[in-house]
Point group: C2
Chain length 219, copies 2
DNA sequence: CCCCTGATTTAGTGCCGTCTAAATCCTAAC
DNA sequence: GTTAGGATTTAGACGGCACTAAATCAGGGG
C-alpha cells in the first residue's frame, strides 16, 4: 500500500497527465504541484518506480503504470464522492468541500466508499461538474469545449469547473459563473486570450486563466 | 498539531486512564495498547511531554495534560460520531464500524464534525451504547453497573458494550447479548467470575472477561 | 539491607520524506 | 559544434517514528 504522501504524488502525476495530455511528466511540474523541492520529487519518484507505480527514466520524466493509474483514479473517485456528500448531505458550500475531501480521500476501506456511493445515489458528477470515475476506474470525460474556445456570438451553458481552488470558486460565484448558467461570448481578445461575456443579464470580462478552466455546452 | 501517531498515543493514554481510573499510566500498558515496543513508547512520551500534551516523569508513568485530554476527547467524539454515521446512514454492522472510524477520526476539520453531528441529530450515544463527548468535551459517563457486578436473581437490560473488537462483537451477537436485551443472572461463580444468564428465552454462561465489558441497567 | 526480577530507559539503527547546496545533464541558440 | 542556462539528479543532513540489545532503575523477598 502506498503511503499518504505517495498517494498524493500519484494523484499529482495523474492530474498533470490529464491536463497536459502529455505522456511523461517532468520533475519540476510535479514539484510545483505538490509544493516540494525538485530534489524531493526525484527521491520519491524513484521509490514509486521501485514499487512499480510509475515508469521513470532519469531526465526523461515520469508516467504512471497501470497500477499507479488505478490507484490515482480510485483517489479521484473517493475525492469527488466525498465532495458530493459534503455538499448534498452536510450542506457545505462550493468552495469549502475540496480541502476536506482532500483528507477524506485517503481513508481506504473499499466497502466504505461503495456504500457511500450508494447512499448518494451513485452520482456521476461532483459538485463542480467533474466526472466521478466508476468503481472500475472508467471516467466519462467531458467532451464539451472550454469557454475560451468559443467565438464571438457563441452561446452556451457552464457544465464544469476544472479547478478546486477555494479563492477561484468564490470569484466564480461573485461573477455569476456557476453551473448551469447561460452565457454568451460578446468579444474575444486575441492578444491576451481574455473575452467579454454576457452572464445572465450582466456583462463581464474574464481572463484566459478563467476561460480555460470552464467547460461549456454550446447552444 | 499532533501527528496521527501522536494522536493515537493520546487516545491510548486517555482510554487507559478511564479504564484503570489510575492517574499515571505505565509505559508498558501503553506499549501493549498501541502495539509497539516499550522503548518506542518512552521516545514518544518524551516528545508528547515536550509538546505539553502529557505530564511525564521517568519511571513514574504518564498522565494527560488538560490540552492532551482535550485532544483525546475530541478524537473520541469524532470516532463515535462516525460510527453512528456508518451504521445509521451507510448501513454497516456493529462489528464493522470501529475500524473505519479509527481512520475517519483523524480527519480534522472542525466544521465537518459539527455538521456531521447535526446531520445525525446530535446523538448522545454511539452504536455500542457508549457516550459521545459533546463539543466541549463533556462526557455523560454511564453510571450503570457492569454485568459481573450483578448478583443471582438480578435482572437488567444491556445498555452499553465497552469494547470495540470485531470478534468480540460478533460473539455478542451470536449469544444474543446486544443492546436493549433483557437478561437475568441465574448463578454466579466466585472462583472465576463467570456467571450463568437467562438471555431472552435462552440460558448461557459467560466468562468474567465478557461480564466486565457490558453495562447493565438494573430492573 | 541487599539482591532479584521485571519495568523502564538509553544507545544505536533504519526507513520515510523532506530540505539545501553542489554537480550534472539537456537543449536551444549561436 | 560549443556553450549558456535551466532542468534534473546527487550528496549530505535532519526530524519523526519505529526497532533490538544493553544498561539501569525500583520494589518485594529473603
Amino acid at each position: 500500500m502506498p503511503s499518504l504522501t505517495e498517494e498524493n504524488y500519484l494523484k499529482a502525476i495523474f492530474a498533470l497527465s490529464e491536463k497536459e495530455g502529455a505522456d511523461r511528466i517532468s520533475t519540476n511540474a510535479i514539484a510545483a504541484r505538490v509544493n516540494t523541492a525538485a530534489a524531493s520529487v526525484t527521491d520519491m519518484v524513484k521509490r514509486l518506480s521501485d514499487k512499480n507505480l510509475v515508469e521513470y527514466e532519469k531526465y526523461k520524466g515520469v508516467s504512471l503504470t497501470a497500477e499507479g493509474e488505478s490507484i490515482a483514479k480510485d483517489l479521484v473517485r473517493k475525492h469527488r464522492l466525498w465532495e458530493v456528500f459534503l455538499m448534498q448531505k452536510l450542506g457545505f458550500a462550493w468552495d469549502e468541500v475540496h480541502e476536506m475531501a482532500e483528507d477524506l480521500e485517503h481513508v481506504h476501506h473499499p466497502k466504505l466508499i461503495e456504500r457511500l456511493a450508494d447512499f448518494l445515489g451513485n452520482p456521476r458528477f461532483d459538485p463542480h461538474g467533474d466526472p466521478i470515475p466508476d468503481r472500475h476506474g472508467n471516467i466519462a470525460y467531458h467532451k464539451e469545449l472550454y469557454l475560451n474556445q468559443l467565438k464571438s456570438g457563441d452561446r452556451g451553458v457552464i457544465v464544469a469547473v476544472e479547478q478546486d481552488d477555494a479563492e477561484f470558486l468564490r470569484y466564480l460565484v461573485r461573477v455569476g459563473l456557476v453551473l448551469n448558467v447561460e452565457i454568451e461570448v460578446l468579444e474575444t481578445e486575441d492578444y491576451d486570450g481574455s473575452c467579454t461575456l454576457r452572464i445572465g443579464r450582466n456583462k463581464r470580462s474574464i481572463s484566459e486563466k478563467v476561460g480555460e478552466k470552464l467547460r461549456v455546452r454550446k447552444l
